[in-house]
Amino acid sequence: MNDDVAIRARGLTKRFGTLTAVDNVDLTVRKREVYGFLGPNGSGKSTTIRMLCGLMRPTAGEIDVLGYKIPRDAEALKRRIGYMTQRFTLYEDLTVGENLDFLAAVHELTRAAARTRITELLERFWLADRRNQLAGTLSGGQKQRLALAGTVLHKPDLLFLDEPTSAVDPQSRREFWESLFELADMGTTLLVSTHYMDEAERCTRLAILDHGRVVADGTPHDLMANLPGRTLLVEADKPREAQRSLKDLPGVIAMAQIGTSLRVLAKAGADFEQQVAERMKSAGLVAQVHAIAPNLEDVFVVATSNSKDTNHAAA
């Protein structure tokens, strides 16, 4: 296996009875990447992460993580990874300090090493003054920082973070991501699942998951660059009427009103800008139509609508 690759999965599949939660996923995560899993609830993010950590056996497929074959070498891998669960799963009835003491012992840190490391992490994650507070009484953001501190205690090479910011306010989310980049700077590989576009956009690479499948992957920049001329901004004096008149135009994937203007996402095809402009004119609406840069949400919508099309085609 290539030294540069932290995670490689081929044909990864997990079935629960008749439900295929993860469907033939191929994945390559390079070292020092901040790799994002973007997908709606139920798209298979947690299940994929659990299989990569060796907590669940895949129904089919091969996994290689940090050179270990998973699930065979899962126990050896567990010394080198940190896994932050989607829910807060430290002990709410222990204090911040007690939780970290416990985890330090679990990871076989010596008492002296644990003491310095815990003090260091409490400082780094702004929890020094919360040391004797019960974890259950922390705010959402503090809980996430504590969970992250517990996950990195033993300086893992690879971190799995399952929707780490879903219960956190925007300010805390930004701070949390600062911490993640700090870790990446120090050489840690991160795999982060999220359903926030702005977070996904900060990843170095990302995979978009839908119904257990990877429907798109690449760097955020490349993914967005692959949608040239397909995102239009329609600045109309009557945006709602503009939206109504465009509804039955073939090739429109999605429309969203933003303030007084209308954002239109179209299928790949020639001259869509022209068609929209004509439609506006024939509806008697005064409108300016011009192409704008696509964002990650457009990428996401296109990718998931493509997978729906193939689903329909298969059915």
Binding site: R50, C53, G54, L55, M56, R57, P71, A74, E75, K78, R79, I81, G82, Y83, T85, R87, T89, L90, Y91, D93, L94, E98, D101, F102, L103, A105, V106, H107, E108, L134, G150
Partner: protein, 363 residues
Amino acid sequence: MQLRRLGSIIVKELRQLRRDKLTFAMIIGIPTMQLVLFGYAINLDVRHLEAGVLDQANTARSRELIAELAATEVMKLGKPLQSPEQVDAALRSGEISAALIIPPDFETRLERPDRPAAQIVVDGSEQVIQAAARQLAAFPIYKNTGWTSRTAGIEVVNFYNPQRRAAVNTVPGLVGVILTMTMVLFTAIALVRERERGNLEMLIATPVSPWELTLGKVLPFIGIGLVQVTIVLLLGKLLFDVPLRGSLLELYASALVFIVASLSLGVFLSTLATSQFQAMQMAFFTFLPQILLSGFMFPYAGMPVAAQYVAEVLPLTHFLRLIRGIMLRGASIGELWHSLAALGVFIVIVLSFAVSRVSKRLD
């Protein structure tokens, strides 16, 4: 197995326990409440039963019989009655629960072994009273061995010392019942709670081993079990003057082995249950046969053979033999080694099976 890791799990468990007020209260409350309940309230023996007397013979010997029965204190032979009709009426109204009827030919009946000399009429609607009357029926008069010629009733006094006798027999058994109830339930719930709250998913992604996880969880409960044993023994001594005829050390050693057996069962149940509620249901499911078949409620010798086989599998059966032997008969552990061995086998089988089921996977 790594000692520091095991130690940290135990410390964590004790810290959580200290903050869990309800469980803490149950550790002290369950033994105390059970002891008082079983010791005082659930007393199958009867004293001071309201009773009437219809003495149709009215001889010296009949009056002597009345006095003798009254001395047993089972019946309060307070109400003198004049006719069988009065007996009927008083029983029906509930004024009395029993009546001693001495027929006019009492003296001649005493000479004939085939006919009862006197009669106790009881309110059959009360099981407990019936049982008490049956005890009285064993009174020597029916055997016609000449109760009047017996010397002072030492035998009778021993026999009819119901409250004392019950507590003495119940308290050792109660140690076993309380441990069965709390140890199985506490461990099963403690382990399932960890899974339900998701802590386990966090833990199994670390290098912790299934043995460390299991032992770290159950070892604190051994201490708790020993505290409970102490509470029951102390209260039994203070409230009911229950004797300890054997060695205290051997008693604690037996209790320790039984606690580990119950904890193993708890661990095993926790691997089957998916929720704390299920764990509780399962604990009660194993609790009932132990109470009913172990010899705590009904004597082992009186059970059908099939039930006896089942009883042999239950740890409580063996512990009752141990603790009753040590406390009441002054037996030594050496004489009771087979019960101890049976508990040992139970632990090895159940615990190995349980730990092999403690998986570090979610599926």
